[in-house]
């Protein structure tokens, strides 16, 4: 166990799990419709894991189960367990808000808070944790720096966040997420609304973030998965009965020597 892990007793006391995300027997419904079925997967800590698969295979649903955002949708429910750092995030005694602070999320479309300045946007999560004054300022600045946005916005921190470009807004959303001190960062197709230049910046950032956080991304783009991820999970919904996990291995294996025919067909572009 590394020194850093030892310094985080709250998350590593139960099991030496650090910041890994462990999913067991997960089935998620939207009303009567099944989104994902019987998923067992363990996302290793401080790595980038990509979830790939064709549209409607349940990758976003799986992601949203990892920070309890799934239940925001009316009629949504799950079965099975999800553990973050060894702790069952669906335990009765645990508040969804607490989990969402620990497991941050970046969405498909940049969604900064429309009425807030750049500065206030980045500070929402940190403020929620009770940080104030210079401590808060430091957290915001360091988050903006780590998101690679600081130099671009340092002179206009008080201007509305929606005046930024799409790529900058998405990096602001990442900064906002980091400033809340999460353990895991989920990204739901974070580049799909961005141009190629902005995409590259976000991809670099993902690699960067994986040094401290467990990063899990959903992507439509196989090349992106191949470029940025350490591990890749391939999902597929074949019979309308919800998406299943077909294969999970390190990214090289999935793309060069997959063990499942369907994975091979998908990564070689034969469907999807």
């Amino acid at each position: 166990m590394s020194i850093e892990q030892a310094a985080r007793p709250a998350t590593s006391a139960a099991e030496p799990d650090g910041r890994a995300v462990d999913v067991r027997g997960l089935t998620a419904w939207y009303g009567a419709k099944v989104g994902v079925r019987d998923v067992d997967i363990r996302f290793p800590q401080e790595k980038v894991t990509a979830i790939i698969g064709p549209s409607g295979c349940g990758k976003s649903t799986l992601l949203r189960c990892l920070n309890r955002m799934h239940e925001v949708v009316k009629g949504a429910r799950i079965e099975g367990s999800v553990r973050v750092g060894g702790q069952d995030i669906y335990a009765r005694s645990i508040d969804a808000a607490e989990i969402r602070q620990r497991v941050g999320m970046v969405f498909q479309r940049p969604n900064p808070f429309p009425t807030m300045s750049i500065w206030d946007n980045a500070g929402v999560g940190a403020k929620l944790l009770g940080h104030r004054g210079s401590e808060l300022s430091d957290m915001i600045e360091s988050a903006l720096r780590r998101a690679g946005l600081w130099d671009e916005v340092r002179d206009k921190l008080r201007t509305p966040a929606i005046d930024l470009s799409g790529g900058q807004q998405q990096r602001l959303c990442i900064a906002r997420c980091i400033a809340a001190r999460p353990e895991v960062i989920l990204m739901d197709e974070p580049c799909s609304a961005l141009d190629p230049a902005a995409t590259i910046r976000i991809e670099d950032l993902m690699r960067e973030l994986a040094r401290e956080y467990t990063v899990i991304i959903v992507t439509h783009n196989m090349h992106q998965a191949a470029r940025v991820s350490d591990y890749t999970a391939f999902m597929l919904a074949e019979d309308g009965a919800g998406g299943r996990l077909v294969e999970f291995a390190d990214t090289d294996t999935v793309f060069t020597n997959p063990s499942d025919q369907r994975t091979e067909a998908y990564v070689t572009g034969r469907f999807g």
Partner: protein, 293 residues
Amino acid sequence: MIAATSRNRRRRRIVDTIASAAITGAGIGVIVPLVVILLFLFVKGLPALHVDLFTQNPGPTGVAGGGIKSSIVGSVLLLGLALVMGLPPAIATGVYLAEYGRGRLGFVIRFLVDVLAGVPSITIGIFVYTAVVLNMGNINRFTGGDQKFTAFAGGIALALIMLPIVSRVTEEMLLLVPQMTREASYALGVPKWRTILTVVLPAASSGIMTGIVLASARVAGEAAPLLFTALGNNFYSTSIFRPIDALPLRIFTYATGPFPYQHDQAWAGSFVLVMMVLVMSIGARLLLRRPGR
């Protein structure tokens, strides 16, 4: 063949011209009454405008001169009371309907709010008369007042008229805030109530403000619910627990009075009232147009 097509085309063009003209005519027809009203107000009200109107209170009946300061101040005060008493429950109701009231209870409340919006203002006046004015004895025991008709009662009546308007506007404006924005907040671990207060309400604020201003403009012109609540007052008063004058009441009194100077002041008062409402409405539109979304 070609001839037929071109004839067809000509017919279409004629129908199009007629339809366009009819619709444009209808559109212009709608604003004719407004223009006529404004014209009347300018012709009759503008000449009667005088500084005394804003600085003097009504003189003894039958003596020309004096002003309607007490009515203007009274109207402003009544509106203020209505806002203070009406906005908190109205906005709270709107938040409930938009953010929590998706079930059966929400449906029932939404329906009742709509019913309240349809209740004639005179009926609201009777209700407040029965519930508040006739019960002033009990209230006066705490306040030390001795009046039955009060600005307080008038404010309640106006607040009740504002309530459904502001509630529904709040609900609609909150529903316009994208779900994406709420999710951004939830995903940071912000609880729902705090998301509503710090993210959703601010995002909807300019729309809600517009609704409040429009509701204010609406109640500023109400006379019926004030007749037997605020009652009207020939003397200047700023006390909440005394009868108070209001512009619509003064206009009614003067317009139906026997003296020509009263008629002039009624016109001038109408002019002032319409200008107040107009300024508020235009202000509201500007608020809504201001970028911030």
